[in-house]
């Protein structure tokens, strides 16, 4: 990146002085009505590191929601503004960025994060300062006491919902002898727990429970043992590049001969990076796949706006959550007619909406978005284009019964 460091016009002190004076004069008329300051949404996501691809799509989608809100006139003329920050997938970094967003940038809402532990850190900071936080990544813990607070909302699904829906589908269809391979952190553990809860009434038999460190690049040492157990199902409870490499290497070891690979959250982005050969026949759950647009009008509308804004591409699953998360708090502000925390919380509680994937609602007790989940299978042939990667096998409809009960999460029901 050879860039010239000489500015095209030589800047002198006089230039700068002149420029800042002009700025003061021009910005003057905007000052009197404080009410017209924009609605600021802080958006901490891991823009660098292993989930950068997903995070950057979250920003693209979130920006889309902001642009739509502004195009439709905003809140009585108040425009919205997105402040994306890099949380580096690190709880400490995320807490610092969130604190800055609240104290320095005076944001009205926080939306974001792409990891279970990071969202808990963000939530902790936001709730202490009475700022609404809408999380867009999976976690069971955030819905439950003591982490949850009245300002906490959860647009993403929970591992209990995801693994439950995928488990009920897979255990009934592919068999009951199961091996779990999970990433050794909160996400993996919550997913395995979700699968077991769904599998218990179906009588599944757990042959082995293997864990691997986060960021593993080689799974070859685990594959012979899994192959020797000949399970009906291999549940891969990991994410991002870990998932992509694990699927590829399981395929290389010929596991698909005897075993169906099932993934609670099958990522559009990981599938693109690993290619059709590796993911062939893999079944998983997703909160969103652009292909549902053939039957869901709001998905069609969302995809079209995304295509229009970003060179005909389609949004990813986690990206779409960024859209829904931001649009939700803006819709709450619009309903409340203000950005005051208490009024927006009241407006969001029990709100029914259909932004991009069919009907959703925020359950009153824990502010969890009750929503549908799609079971998809990865394609390797008859693809109409590079984005045509999954076929939708089933839809697990939005149903409160799929969630952990309010009392199990420690809420008074």
């Amino acid at each position: 990146m050879a860039e010239s460091f000489t500015p095209p016009i030589r800047l002198t002190r006089r230039h700068l002085l002149g420029a800042s004076l002009t700025g003061i004069v021009l910005s003057r008329p905007a000052i009197p009505r404080a009410q017209e300051s924009p609605i600021r949404i802080g958006f901490p996501v891991p823009l660098t590191g292993p989930y950068a691809t997903e995070a950057q799509d979250q920003v693209r989608c979130a920006q889309l929601a902001v642009d739509e809100f502004n195009a439709s006139g905003g809140l009585n003329g108040r425009r919205a503004e997105l402040l994306a920050r890099d949380d580096k997938l690190n709880p400490g970094e995320a807490a610092t960025r969130t604190l800055e967003l609240i104290e320095k940038d005076k944001v009205d809402f926080i939306v974001g994060s792409l990891s279970a532990s990071v969202q808990l850190a963000v939530n902790n900071v936001a709730r202490q300062r009475n700022v609404i936080y809408n999380s867009i990544s999976q976690s069971d813990q955030i819905d439950a006491l003591p982490d949850w607070s009245r300002t906490t909302f959860h647009e993403a699904m929970t591992p209990h919902m995801t693994a439950g829906a995928v488990g009920r589908y897979a255990f009934g269809k592919y068999g009951k002898r199961v091996v779990f391979l999970s990433a050794d952190y909160a996400y993996g553990a919550e997913m395995v727990a979700g699968f077991k809860a769904a599998g218990a009434p179906l009588g599944i038999e757990v042959l082995a429970e293997l864990k691997h460190p986060l960021g593993t690049t080689d799974f070859s040492t685990l594959m012979p043992r899994i192959a020797a157990l000949k399970p009906d199902i291999l549940c891969l409870c990991n994410f991002g590049r870990d998932q992509q490499i694990a699927v590829k290497q399981a395929t290389d070891f010929g596991l698909k001969r005897t075993t169906r690979i099932v993934i609670p959250v099958i990522l559009y982005t990981a599938r693109l990076a690993a290619g059709p050969q590796a993911y062939e026949g893999v079944v998983g759950g997703t909160s969103y796949y652009w292909g549902i647009e053939s039957s869901v009008p709001s998905a069609k509308a969302f995809n079209d706006r995304y295509r229009h804004a970003y060179d005909g591409k389609v949004p990813s699953d986690y990206g779409a959550l960024g859209y829904a998360g931001v649009r939700a708090v803006l819709a709450g502000a619009a309903r409340a007619g203000t950005t005051a925390t208490d009024k927006v919380v009241a407006a969001l509680e029990g709100m029914k909406y259909d932004f991009y994937k069919g009907a959703e609602t925020y359950r009153a007790c824990d502010h969890q978005a009750v929503q549908s989940l799609f079971i998809v299978e990865s394609k390797s042939k008859d693809m109409s284009g590079p984005a045509d990667v999954f076929s939708v096998l089933a839809t697990d409809p939005a149903n409160e019964a799929s969630l952990l009960s309010c009392s199990a999460e420690g809420h008074a029901s």
């Binding site: 990146m1 292993p50 950068a52 691809t53 950057q56 050794d184 293997l210 864990k211 691997h212 460190p213 960021g215 593993t216 690049t217 080689d218 070859s220 040492t221 685990l222 594959m223 012979p224 043992r225 192959a227 020797a228 157990l229 590049r241 992509q244 490499i245 590829k248 290497q249 290389d252 070891f253 010929g254 001969r257 982005t269 693109l272 990076a273 690993a274 290619g275 050969q277 590796a278």
Partner: protein, 294 residues
Amino acid sequence: MSGVSPDLLALQVFAGLALGAVYVLLATGMSLIFGMLTVVNFAHGAFYMLGAYLGLLALDATGNFWAALVLAPLGAAAIGMVAERTLIRRLYGRGIDYPLLLTFGLAYILVELVRIAFGTQGLPFDTPDALAGAVDIGVGYFPLYRLFVIAVTILVLGALWLFLERTPYGLIIRAGARDPEIVRVLGIDVARVWLVVFGLGTGIAGLAGLLAAPLQGASPEMGNSILAEAFVVTVVGGMGSLLGAVAAGLLVGLVVSMTALVAPEMEQVAIFALMALVLLVRPQGFFGRAGLMS
């Protein structure tokens, strides 16, 4: 641990050897560069990653994996030689920290350039058709491609040994490592020897990266984690010792593989525990000369 059959154990050994093969290649290149130039090459992981991406480019241009197998290491070697000529050469004789810091920075630059050129997401790298799938090796199914990786490693090590021990040029390289001044007095251009050695080391790293690409795909960060493991192998084998790199690479592969049988989540820890143990008993590593780092 219940249910560990002899067959499974044998397969596990194979998995460990295949894993070790990639470590061996990386550590060999690293050890070669350190042994001859006393440069601790922190950009070695980046050259490994470059090998994978150059392989993708070659595959795109030629459509032939075998062509990529030749072109990618050559490309990595060429980039390595440019880096040696323009950057690293200036720091010879200045103490071990200078080139270490330089290559550390170089690694960041190379990774960032690849992110800009190819995206952060990583790209798929399919196993070549002729080597795809798993074959029954008597004790169970094993991926054909991993057997191929073991075979290529053996070939490369054999060729390297012949080159260093049986050719006049190899003789000059070994002599240059032992006493560059005398070699220079004999009228030999030592600077060219160093250039070739650095190119050879980074070329082998590029080959390792290309070989790894069908196993895990290509991603800008693929060299970061394996760099730490390659260092462990180099240190355990003895800095600068090629024989040590081979022995330690295979040993680390086997330790990882056997740990996976008992406690997969401890794989990473086991590598470093092994290093700590070896360094306690034998601070210079298996075949290292004592006092080389000081």
